[in-house]
């Protein structure tokens, strides 16, 4: 089996990364060991691990990390389950299937900034959501103004907008499962639930791993929603790690510290992804 073709197939990525990926990654890593600030005339000074030490002793960083962890733990299972349920529901042929597929995908189509602005309006204390709740005689929290409900409100919006997107990915994965397996199982008397558990889910593993890993990476980097809706407040309860590092980079102009924070996040993300690959990423086979 000639390896030449394999390397040729791999080369586009190697080339692109070499040009546009390697330098930024290396630059940021290097910057994290300095006090680089682009607006300062004096050059950057090497400070060793000072930025990392500062991060580990920075209560604001830990608070941001906690918020981000809460966000990830709260949204990933929900989004994944909902996306899978929707995909299973709209995969078989039925009347109006296209309508539902398109409708569920629609939230992903609009830019996240515009969506955040819309939800900011919806969540306003005198906004439409509270108007609806009041009409139903339900309590009307302050949503984005209440430290306890602000982050959950953003999380709800994230689940809403992401589910349809991952539903489409699950749909593609479902398509890769050969139909005969289902036919054979039906002949042997397997119920729909059996088919789901013993054929669909195991063979969907690679797609499931993809959704988990990619969604985790994205959720760990939540930024735009926070920037538009709450600016990290109230009482810093919606400040995520990336929002915090953005403030350091573009309001404090402290790129050295921001890079260190980014690499700490990187390590965390890598560890999580690796764990997910170990747990879910075993080769796909249908179980008997």
């Amino acid at each position: 089996m000639p390896r030449a073709t394999s390397w040729a197939f791999l080369s586009p990525w190697v080339l692109a990364f070499g040009l546009f990926g390697l330098y930024p990654f290396a630059f940021s890593l290097f910057a994290s060991f300095t006090d680089y600030s682009p607006v300062r005339a004096e050059g950057a000074r090497f400070v060793g691990l000072a930025n990392y030490a500062r991060a580990l002793h920075d209560p604001a960083f830990w608070s941001a990390l906690g918020n981000t962890a809460f966000f990830v733990v709260g949204t990933i299972p929900l989004t994944t389950a909902l996306a899978l349920a929707l995909a299973l529901a709209v995969q078989p042929a039925f009347r109006g299937r296209s309508l539902f597929r398109t409708g569920f995908f629609l939230p992903s189509v609009v830019s996240v900034v515009v969506l955040s602005l819309v939800f900011k309006g919806l969540y306003a204390p005198n906004g439409s959501l509270n108007g609806l709740l009041a009409a139903l005689h339900l309590p009307t929290p302050a949503w984005l103004l209440d430290p306890d409900t602000a982050l959950p409100a953003i999380m709800a919006m994230d689940v809403w907008s992401a589910s349809g997107y991952y539903m489409v990915i699950f749909l593609a994965g479902l398509e890769a499962i050969p139909r005969d397996l289902y036919d054979a199982a039906r002949l042997e008397g397997a119920t729909a639930r059996d088919q789901l558990v013993h054929i669909t889910l195991p063979l969907l593993r690679p797609t499931l791993l993809f959704v988990l890993v990619v969604n985790t990476i994205r959720s760990l980097q939540i930024f735009a929603e926070v920037f538009v809706m709450t600016r990290g407040g109230p009482l810093h309860r919606t400040t995520t790690v990336v929002y915090y590092l953005y403030e350091q980079a573009f309001y404090r102009f402290d790129l050295g510290y921001a890079s260190a924070l980014a690499y700490l996040l990187f390590v965390l993300t890598l560890a999580l992804a690796w764990l997910q690959m170990r747990a879910v990423g075993r080769p796909a086979e249908a179980s008997a």
């Binding site: 040009l19 910057a31 629609l106 609009v110 515009v114 809403w160 593609a172 590092l245 992804a273 796909a284």
Partner: protein, 285 residues
């Protein structure tokens, strides 16, 4: 059995009658409505320029299309749309091509240390772009690519997300067909083109949809890599036209966003048929 025959077999089965579908509608219907409510909000606001973003006032008051008229009257809108379309199309073509090749070779484990390669490729998604932005800008400046179409296309031509997606999909593809073709003496490239690519249609359709979507709505990099108005893309243009220092022209922004969503929707509708093309039904035969 060839893909066409399988598709014919699928088409022969008509969708079930309305009655059988009703069950699904009962629980999917309300869910769909909840999902669509924010769009109702958006559309209503876009039709009420004097409501200032208040849904209650927008729903009540008279509706008019003046925001849409202002949008289309804007000299720049056509230019922004064209730029976004050209750039997004280029990126999609490159993404699909590179994801297909790189994802395939990873999914079939045809390079040593494949798992490490995959982890490395996925790892490039793990550093937030807010931090990559400044050094990437430096690269573009040194390469004299600032303020060019190339700046909007080249850095995004190869996409780790798409590669990973294709790899996962390929992992689930039965290898028998390829092995059969190899036994018949076909070359790597011939196998890839004739056997594998058609089977990858569903995932490549997803890659097309998602890279178009990501690129179409991309804001940060088009903002910083491009200065001139003639190269500006839609999200940046829309922000410039509708956002002032402390306030947002709600109605204009919602009108603009509605219009901006239409091409993505069109791409989705165009490609989504391929996601459920049923080509693998009976592929084993």
């Amino acid at each position: 059995m060839s893909g066409e025959a399988a598709a014919v077999e699928l088409r022969a089965t008509a969708p079930p009658a309305w009655g059988a579908s009703l069950g699904r509608w009962l629980w999917l219907g309300p869910l769909l409505l909840t999902m669509l409510l924010p769009f109702v909000w958006m559309a209503t606001i876009s039709l009420a320029p004097r409501s200032g973003g208040s849904f209650a006032r927008a729903a009540a008051g008279p509706w008019d299309l003046s925001s849409y008229r202002a949008l289309f009257a804007s000299a720049h809108l056509g230019r922004y749309l064209l730029n976004s379309a050209a750039v997004a199309t280029a990126v999609v073509l490159l993404n699909v091509a590179t994801a297909a090749t790189v994802g395939y070779v990873l999914g079939r484990r045809r390079v040593p240390g494949e798992k490490l390669w995959t982890l490395g490729i996925v790892a490039t998604l793990m550093l937030p772009k807010q931090v990559l932005m400044v050094p990437l800008y430096l690269v573009m400046a040194r390469l004299h690519l600032l303020d060019t179409y190339a700046a909007l296309v080249l850095p995004f031509a190869v996409d780790a997300f798409s590669i990973f997606l294709v790899r996962q999909y390929v992992l689930g593809l039965p290898i028998e067909l390829e092995e059969a073709a190899r036994v018949d003496g076909a070359s790597d490239w011939a196998i890839f083109r004739a056997v594998v690519l058609p089977l990858m249609k569903p995932v490549l359709a997803v890659v097309a949809i998602q890279s178009f979507l990501t690129n179409w709505n991309s804001f940060l990099f088009p903002l910083i890599f491009v200065d001139s108005d003639r190269l500006r893309t839609l999200p940046v243009g829309l922000a410039l036209l509708s956002q002032t220092e402390h306030s947002v022209d709600w109605s204009f922004l919602m009108a603009g966003s509605t219009v901006a969503s239409l091409p993505v929707l069109a791409v989705f509708l165009l490609f989504q048929r391929h996601i459920l093309s049923g080509l693998l039904a009976g592929a084993e035969k």
